[in-house]
């Protein structure tokens, strides 16, 4: 076991391989406050990568309702249970065990789902915690609640799947940090399925090998964001890259959101894989559940989100979500617009904070017609 630095835990941890950062790391931000659980991402992914035989119940991307939903069922509850006592100390230092720090001597702490764990992919849809007996009023934090959690492979910095693969058929691409299962070398031992705490590697019963989200690398290689991002009509997603070896850049929307403002948080950081999908926590949900899910910075993140209108630098980064299929590398908060740039600094998107109003004359002399809003 090597010692690696996990910045999300603010400590070193054990991992089977030496730390090696990719040149840049694929990174996503998901704003749960905008997710509408429409499953457009799910279908975009499914129709692109996983519509074949043996893939009937495989969804690299899914959206589930928390707390009652889970695909596969209980994916997180079971891992949380395996880890036992989890505790965050002062300064956000994680004091519990990660999945790589098993006391039983297992390489990675995990559990293997059954075939039927993947049945009922939307179990729990829209279901709330609490019972709505008769009439209610909530203001701010909701007494009875649910929220939507969109999930893909986290392309972790310390992947559980990679750590567990006995054939070393899983690797992290050095150019972008995307984690892949080599479909030619995999022999279907399903160790990755057991090890991934997010249950985002899948065993295909027809090909007899495991498969997973590929971060849409054929698109990434052309400078385009993945299908689940570019089809997201809730505009909850932004994909780009982070380089956590360097000082955070204020002109990087990812550094601004994740590292400077810390408004978006990793999913179950205590698992220890240093996941690279960051979530803005839902502002209406009681904090205990959220701390369990997103770590100790939840309350600060919610306060920031509620005050975003007063922080133009942050707002501008959020205004860039879902406007262009191109990958945004840097951005600027102008007076009336948020502007995004590609890798070589060319402007690729410019959007107003407020969509403009167009007024037309009642009598349009150019086209010889009256115009009405009630035609």
């Amino acid at each position: 076991m090597a010692k690696v630095k996990n910045w999300q835990l603010n400590r070193e941890m054990e991992y089977p391989y030496e730390e090696k950062k990719p040149k840049k790391q694929i990174t996503y931000v998901f704003d749960t406050n905008k997710c509408i659980a429409c499953q457009t991402c799910t279908v975009a992914c499914k129709t692109t990568w996983a519509a074949g035989k043996g893939e009937e119940t495989i969804f690299f991307n899914n959206v589930e309702t928390k707390p009652y939903g889970g695909y596969p069922q209980k994916w997180d509850v079971n891992t949380l249970k395996e880890l036992n006592e989890q505790e965050w100390g002062k300064g956000g230092v994680y004091k519990g065990k990660t999945i790589f720090e098993s006391e039983s001597g297992e390489r990675v702490t995990g559990w293997r789902p059954e075939e039927r764990s993947y049945a009922f992919p939307n179990i729990g849809e829209d279901e709330v915690l609490g019972n709505m007996e008769k009439g209610a009023f909530f203001n701010g934090i909701h007494d009875i609640w649910m929220f939507y959690l969109a999930r893909i492979c986290n392309h972790c910095s310390y992947p559980g799947c990679l750590a567990a693969c006995p054939r070393k058929a899983i690797y992290k691409r050095e150019e972008d940090g995307i984690v892949l299962i080599d479909q030619s070398r995999c022999r279907g031992y399903k160790e990755c399925v057991k090890a991934c705490p997010y249950k985002k590697t899948f065993f295909n019963m027809v090909t007899r090998v495991s498969e997973k989200c590929i971060g849409c690398y054929p698109l990434i290689e052309q400078g385009e964001q993945p299908r689940c991002v570019t089809s997201c009509i809730g505009k909850i997603r932004l994909q780009g890259f982070m380089e956590d070896a360097k000082e955070p850049r204020r002109d990087s929307p990812f550094d601004m959101i994740v590292r400077i403002k810390k408004i978006a948080l990793p999913l179950y950081p205590q698992f220890g894989t240093q996941p690279n999908v960051y979530y803005v926590p839902p502002v209406h949900v009681p904090k205990d559940f959220l701390i369990q899910m997103f770590g100790p910075n939840v309350e600060d993140a919610i306060t920031l989100y509620r005050n975003m209108k007063d922080d133009k630098e942050l707002l501008a980064a959020f205004m860039l979500f879902g406007n262009t299929p191109r990958i945004i590398h840097s951005y600027k908060a102008e007076e009336n617009h948020a502007v995004g740039y590609n890798e070589i600094g060319d402007e690729i998107v410019r959007v107003p904070y407020v969509e403009p109003v167009h007024n037309r004359p009642h009598w349009d002399a150019q086209f010889q017609t009256f115009r009405h809003n009630t035609p």
Partner: protein
């Protein structure tokens, strides 16, 4: 390693796929190709990987040959231009176009990239439908129907009826026929029906068949008037769907062939409604504003500070526009969600208020109570823009008129933003209509009004011209409150009061927060907080009203009450403060030139493509609700409550395009199947997917899917600012289909052959010449919002995925812009927002005032009772007046039952079904959801499997009708009381007197009851209140064939083996518990309202503006266990086994729910 294209397509079709997948590569090509590699040792897979050649596999999977754009336009209001990616000639996947941020108008205005992307899961899965097994693939005729035609179309001599042996709809197979025969048979049977019911003899036959005499009279002896046509949501295809109306209009030529009465004496066929039929029309909007609907493009949220999402599940039904709501919130606007459950949208709310279903009018008046109590109302807005200061006579309940009090009063001519047409004067063409216009006679009938001028402390005349700033300029300052005595010209002293005074009395006496809490279940704290938020944001509060409140019987009262609330806070007609009704896509009038297409004079056709058409309307519009109501009008005791302008004819033939709602997803659908369809002599549909409507058809015309359009078309949206073209696509037709417009033209041509009248063919000349753009350009030229556009340019842009902007007065468009910002009048008699209705129909109903009626079925109390203490202006005609017992609460009687009771009495009443049987205790409502747009895409497997908790691709439990099934959401505590577990199958029964169909007694063992009685899984759903159950609306119901299939098929699929139809229920549907309801105040001949198209004002029935709506949220039911949820009908449903279901949580899951895996 290359698999042949043909083989691929074939396997794709068999498995219902249109997509290349890893596993479709031959086995030998994949894993085996790599199995000869030497063993590798990779030191650190974080550091890199030696053999990355295999990554090419996914790059190849992504690669495609070609792409094209098509428009996806189910009736969901959005309309998305989508990019189809093509490989080997087949569409393999679909993506958003990313062209919406490039939309411009003819003046150079442009949208921003914030409009991207626009699509949804249903659209992205369409490739699986284009090639799906349930496509309507070739023309089909029902077996028994072909027999009837071949037998020479025999009929009963006396009644004209067709023997039932030929009319076994839904139970028979279909026969493949040629397109030529399809058209020929259609013309033949329509001609036969029209001749059968023509003239006096025809009317005698209709009498003999038992139709209401008033309906028979309404045919005026023209047989063509029993032929009904419906272009479903016709604005979704201005030429191809509205083409059905054009066909109906041209049947004046058929009438001419039968009766030889020429252009002056001939009649066209009857055309049915869409927006009102779907219960999408908010019927109170025309009562308050004089026009169809007030709404706003949803991105008006950009300019608002407080957005109320009321009975609207915005994030599930307005998916591509959900971000405007969440972004407004992110940027600081408050979002208030009001719903009868913790709705999906509730999780985006800053304020969430959960209330009893069907109480919206009371809740709105409850908010108004707080605002009036705290004197936070906007008196200036009320005086300038509403009738609230107008005086009402207490002796007659009529408005006080100048002619009542001023001898020889001379009404001044109206001059301000209205044009008065002299007798015989014709209306201007649409582009020249700058202001509303009305004929002289009607303007005279309106008269003027009276107010109490506070400045002069005296009575004063107020005219329609004295609106907004013009009233102020005249120096008028009308009193909002007060009781005054006036002397009438006949010497009487009469008490008069202002409308506001009367409303205030009703609101303050009946709807204080404590009472509202009891009545609506909304906590006092929430009522106070939200009322305060509305008042604080006067002029900046958007009321986004959803379909929920609109689907109750009190829907017009809901609109009037919400407008009252919005008006007293100045929230009408402002960009960030307005009322909007969100149900359906409807405003065909955005193409105000459409009448020139649908009502082109068939006797005087314009065949020069450069010239505009000549208009003559021969078709007659009517509401489809009478057909839906058992082909009956509304009568109460000794009185007909159906206005003459609304009067339907008997329905003997139905042709419908682009809509499953009429025949298979209608309110009270199974009553129609059992009691109505057998009397209809021809049913035909134009469809590209085999819907429930196809199941009950005689002829199915298979049409092109959106991806295969060879004839372009256009549409619009009421929720976004775009003008859309359906571009022609390069994709070859997959089956033997035709364009909708080609089908219609083909039928017209067959009529030409049958009658020898060549004008039939000329009606569709430009279709036969493949120049449908001639009609489209004519519509662009003559419509106010599109004049200036060239169709070919719009189509070229659409092919790139870019729509255009609709050129309304403003973008975003929002109704009321002119009225509240430019002092231009509304389309009412007074020109103002009207809250007092003194027409006789309203006074009789007790609805001259804005009152609250309990729901007509979805209530625990006495249905449809008017809630209120004694009030001088709420004195309706009670049942005795019509010769009906006041205690008669039969469902039909309830519709016109006017009984007033204060809440203190109402709260002690019970629903009559509950009095008879205590098990009747649940409200059952059927809203729309994210996984379907009506019934469209809901049964695409990869979409369907996400529909709720029971989706299972492997269908381990063979009782599941498909890979998913519909279910009823019930509060777990209610379910437990019934002995029902999560996932058990239950029966859901509504009032047996009329549901699932009339005449149930004695037929409980018959096939009809097995078909129609609703059985579905129960889901433990803690977000719904106790006593309130919910089933989603978007699903294909059971048909005779699917019921048989579920029993016969080894795999248990509820699939009709004769047709391929796939149901999402084994028995019944979400419409098993609904029925048609008719409300007297929607059937008046007196309501003044703008016509559907253009600026003209008329009165009485107007298609999709004033007429019957429906009430599909009205059902009071009992629920009982049918089958256990476990496999084989024993034990618990599999999903409960994990300990993660509500009320089944195991200890681990409880710990998880509390967040206790992390130490506090």
């Amino acid at each position: 390693m290359k698999s042949s294209r043909k083989q691929f397509i074939k396997s794709g079709l068999l498995s219902g796929l249109g997509t290349i997948a890893l596993s479709s590569l031959p086995l030998s090509g994949f894993s085996q190709a790599f199995s000869f590699f030497d063993p590798l040792d990779i030191e650190n897979p974080l550091r890199g990987y030696p053999n990355r050649g295999w990554e090419k596999t996914y790059r190849d999977m992504w690669a495609y040959d070609d792409e094209f754009t098509f428009l996806c336009a189910p009736n969901d209001t959005h309309n998305c231009l989508l990019k189809a990616m093509v490989k080997n000639g087949a569409v393999v996947r679909i993506a958003p176009s990313y062209g919406f941020g490039k939309a411009t108008d003819a003046q150079g205005n442009q949208t921003s990239a914030r409009w991207e992307p626009r699509c949804c899961q249903k659209g992205l899965a369409l490739a699986r439908r284009f090639y799906g097994d349930r496509r309507a693939k070739y023309p089909l005729i029902r077996e028994g129907y072909l027999k009837w035609i071949n037998a020479g179309m025999p009929r009963d001599i006396k009644t004209g009826a067709i023997a039932q042996e030929y009319m076994q709809r839904g139970k028979e197979a279909f026969v493949k026929i040629t397109w030529e025969d399809t058209f020929k048979y259609t013309a033949l049977v329509l001609d036969n029906i029209a001749r059968t019911y023509n003239g006096k003899e025809g009317q005698d036959k209709l009498h003999a068949q038992g139709y209401d005499p008033l309906m028979v009279e309404a045919t005026h002896g023209h047989g063509v008037e029993v032929l009904k046509f419906r272009g479903g949501m016709a604005p979704l295809g201005v030429t191809r769907i509205f083409g059905i109306n054009r066909l109906a209009n041209s049947l004046a030529l058929l009438d001419n062939a039968i009766n030889n009465k020429g252009p002056e004496g001939s009649k066209g066929a009857r055309t049915w409604d869409s927006y009102a039929w779907h219960t999408d029309l908010p019927p109170g909007h025309p009562m308050v504003t004089g026009q169809q609907t007030v709404d706003f493009d949803l991105f008006c949220t950009e300019h608002s500070k407080h957005i109320i999402v009321w009975g609207m599940n915005w994030i599930t039904t307005k998916m591509p526009d959900a971000h405007w709501l969440t972004e407004a919130r992110m940027k600081g606007a408050k979002v208030t969600v009001i719903a009868c459950e913790y709705s999906a949208t509730a999780n985006k709310g800053d304020n969430v208020l959960v209330v009893r279903p069907g109480v919206t009018p009371a809740l709105a008046l409850g908010f108004a109570h707080v605002i009036i109590r705290d004197k936070k109302y906007d008196a200036d807005f009320m005086k300038k823009f509403t009738d609230l200061p107008f005086l009402v006579r207490m002796d007659s309940q009529k408005m006080l008129k100048p002619t009542d009090v001023i001898l020889n009063y001379q009404k001044p001519d109206l001059k301000n933003y209205i044009e008065i047409l002299k007798k015989g004067e014709k209306a201007k063409k649409s582009p020249e209509q700058g202001a509303p216009f009305v004929d002289e006679e009607m303007a005279k009938e309106w008269g003027d009004f009276m107010v109490w001028d506070e400045t002069k402390n005296a009575l004063s005349v107020i005219t329609r011209d004295d609106y907004g700033k013009y009233m102020r300029e005249k120096g008028l300052n009308p009193a909002l409150e007060g009781r005054f005595k006036v002397k009438t010209i006949d010497g009487k002293e009469v008490e008069v009061r202002t409308v506001f005074d009367l409303m205030k009395e009703y609101v303050m006496e009946n709807f204080d927060p404590k009472t509202i809490e009891e009545l609506t279940w909304a906590p006092v704290k929430g009522i106070e907080a939200i009322a305060d938020e509305i008042a604080t944001n006067s002029g900046n509060t958007l009321f986004a009203m959803g379909m929920g409140p609109n689907q109750f019987f009190n829907n017009d009262l809901k609109d009037r009450a919400v407008f009252f609330l919005a008006s007293i806070t100045g929230n009408v007609g402002k960009i960030g403060g307005n009322v909007g009704s969100y149900a359906g896509n409807y405003r065909g009038a955005l193409f105000s030139g459409i009448p020139g297409y649908i009502a082109e004079d068939p006797f005087n056709l314009e065949l020069d493509e450069t010239k505009p058409s000549k208009v003559k309307k021969y078709m007659h519009y009517e509401s489809a609700h009478y057909f839906n109501n058992g082909d009956r009008i509304l009568r109460m005791g000794n009185k007909n409550m159906t206005g003459e302008t609304h009067m339907p004819t008997p329905t003997k033939s139905i042709m419908v395009s682009n809509g499953n709602s009429l025949l298979a997803n209608s309110k009270g659908h199974y009553d129609n199947v059992v009691n109505v369809y057998p009397k209809i002599e021809f049913i035909s549909v134009l469809e590209w997917w085999w819907t429930g409507s196809c199941e009950y058809s005689d002829i199915v015309y298979p049409v092109d899917s959106w991806a295969e359009f060879k004839y372009p078309d256009m549409t619009m949206s009421v929720t976004n600012p775009f003008l859309y073209v359906f571009p022609r696509t390069p994709l070859k037709r997959i089956f033997d289909t035709k364009g909708d417009i080609e089908v219609i033209a083909g039928i017209a041509s067959a009529f030409g052959n049958l009658t020898g009248d060549s004008r039939f063919r000329d009606m569709f000349k430009f279709v036969f010449e493949n120049k449908v753009e001639v009609y489209l350009q004519r519509i662009l030229n003559t419509s106010q919002g599109t004049r200036g556009y060239k169709f070919n340019e719009l189509e070229a842009e659409a092919k790139k995925g870019i729509p255009a902007l609709m050129m309304t007065r403003t973008t975003p468009k929002f109704v009321g812009m002119e009225q509240s910002n430019e002092d231009k009048q509304w389309y009412t008699k007074s020109g103002r927002l009207e809250f007092y209705r003194d027409e006789p129909e309203f006074i009789e109903a007790g609805e001259n005032m804005v009152v609250f009626r309990e729901p007509i079925d979805s209530t625990f109390y006495e249905p449809n009772v008017i809630v209120g203490k004694k009030h001088p202006c709420i004195m309706p005609d009670e049942p005795q007046k019509y010769g009906v017992d006041i205690n008669d609460l039969a469902t039909d009687t309830r519709q016109a039952r006017n009984v007033v009771k204060p809440w203190s009495e109402v709260k002690n009443t019970k629903h009559p079904l509950h009095l008879k049987d205590k098990d009747y205790k649940f409200i059952f409502h059927t809203p729309k959801f994210r996984h379907g747009a009506h019934t469209t895409p809901v049964d695409t497997d990869i979409v369907a499997v996400w529909f709720g908790p029971f989706g299972d691709m492997h269908r381990r439990d063979k009782r599941i009708p498909f890979v998913t099934e519909l279910y009823v959401d019930i509060n777990p505590l209610d379910a437990r009381e019934l002995g029902v577990e999560d996932g058990d199958y239950v029966w859901i029964d509504a009032d047996p007197s009329d549901r699932p169909f009339r005449g149930l007694a004695g037929r409980k063992n018959g096939p009809e009851y097995e078909l129609a009685r609703l059985k579905a899984r129960a889901r433990f759903y803690p977000g719904t209140q106790r006593g309130v159950t919910r089933m989603w609306h978007n699903a294909y119901g059971a048909t005779y064939g699917s019921v048989a299939g579920a029993k016969e098929n080894a795999n248990g699929l509820a699939k009709n083996n004769k047709t391929g139809y796939q149901a999402l229920f084994r028995n019944g549907s979400h419409q098993s518990c609904t029925r048609a309801w008719l409300k007297p105040t929607l059937l008046t001949d007196s309501l003044v309202r703008k016509n559907n198209f253009g600026q003209g004002i008329g009165k009485g029935f107007e298609i999709d503006v004033h007429g019957a709506t429906g009430n599909p949220r009205e059902a009071f039911v009992k629920i009982s266990l049918a089958e256990k949820g476990g496999i084989g009908g024993s034990g618990l449903w599999e999903g409960t086994e994990n300990g993660t279901r509500p009320t089944y949580e195991n200890d681990d899951f409880k710990k998880f729910l509390k967040g206790n895996f992390v130490k506090k």
